[in-house]
Symmetry: C2
């Protein structure tokens, strides 16, 4: 009788489920532990599998869970802090480490898309080839980011776009040439995106997985010398800017007041 909620706010089931699961993860599960499968969890909570999945999706988005087809759902470790451009600037791969060239297609010189041209600004002419270097960033033994680095041929005149080394060797050459230039500044932006098929493969995720897209423009006195578009796994990464990237910030930091 009586003191039950008067104003019953119909909180969605999946939202409530997410809360319950989240607490269970904190209390009853260790990192890496495998959860019961979706069909059983759904039955245990008395909901349809689709509803259960809606809750799991949220938790995965928040980096609490990791789901792998054919394997199962495991408790994810805390997100790793990945340093993205300390205040001390530098050419790609200089100050920040962990980047590896993708040997497969290393680098090619091709005509850029209209969108990349726009990013490169006036420095690149539409008809000019642009070196495209593909790299992967590895942290804690896991691929965390896939990058496409666009360098107009005009930025690295010491390197022939037609002759010269091919594949990964060309990629290395482009990076080496870049670092001979005087970097005047850079420009960075971060936004949410979903992984393209190629990036997803590189990151060991399904296409459409949420990613943080970091777009960086590198300036010299001559203008925009290079543009990098790096896609980071949003589920496992926390991008850090500034001096310390090693500080622990768990999801709990957001359960505040």
């Amino acid at each position: 009788m009586g003191t039950t909620q008067l104003e019953t706010v119909p909180e969605p089931k999946y939202w409530h489920l997410k809360t319950v699961l989240s607490e269970a993860l904190d209390q009853d599960f260790a990192v890496g532990e495998i959860l019961p499968n979706e069909r059983e969890l759904a039955a245990r909570f008395g909901v349809a599998r689709a509803t259960l999945r809606q809750a799991l999706e949220q938790l995965e988005l928040e980096g609490r869970l990791q789901r792998r087809r054919g394997v199962g759902t495991t408790v994810a470790p805390p997100r790793v802090g990945v340093a993205v451009g300390s205040s001390g600037q530098g050419w790609p791969g200089e100050s920040v480490d962990g980047w590896e060239l993708v040997d497969a297609d290393g680098a090619e010189a091709a005509l850029p898309s209209a969108a990349v041209l726009k990013l490169l600004g006036g420095a690149a002419v539409a008809d000019q080839p642009v070196h495209t270097v593909r790299r992967t960033r590895v942290s804690h033994g896991q691929a965390v980011a896939a990058e496409l680095l666009y360098v107009p041929a005009a930025s690295v005149p010491g390197l022939s776009a037609i002759d010269g080394p091919a594949g990964a060797a060309r990629g290395r050459a482009v990076l080496r040439e870049l670092q001979r230039l005087a970097l005047e500044g850079q420009d960075r932006s971060v936004e949410l995106g979903s992984a393209r098929a190629d990036d997803a493969k590189e990151l060991d995720r399904l296409p459409g997985a949420p990613v943080l897209v970091v777009t960086t423009r590198y300036f010299t006195a001559a203008g925009t010398a290079a543009v990098s578009v790096a896609t980071y796994r949003a589920d496992t990464c926390r991008l850090t800017f500034g001096d310390s990237g090693d500080v622990e910030i768990t999801h709990e930091a957001r359960v505040a007041s």
Copy 2:
């Protein structure tokens, strides 16, 4: 006979749908235009509504669409660039503008949660009250971020935690006192999250909506003087770091090579 795809890769329907819709958005729709409703779109493409919704969700995540219950689905404008900490540092609200105190609960002095304590580090003692200031950031007439700023009472000794002004007035007082301190540095991280109920309300989104969580720590010689946790709408915002935040970067920048 013949040249039809030999290796038929069963691309998911929703993925293909997303591509088709994305192209249609580029060609046949203007920003702000309203799409046919989900039931009709699903029928038109010959899929179940749930499948159609999966495609729409992706497009919304990428900032291409905006969906509002009871209204409809509209074509979203390009994401707005929001400056987050230019290299030139500063106390909250100093260099970057657009922040407004939330008058409702302005600021209160309470004991912080364990997670916030961890962020504040050694500077705050567990038993000490922490001023909690709630702010909202408005850009282009729209709320783009909700922030909780935590300032240990010890950081602003000129302000009594118990007496003194209340509500929004206290918030302003806390900010004013902060700016009298010598800022030695800061520390920033960005990660993906989902909107808590209170933040969602502030941002005019549903709970669970994707947000970019920007955590900033402000250092003085005495240690961590304040911590800010700001949640930005991931669908409408592109966070910019550095000097220029006004550059147009459309989604096309990622359709490359």
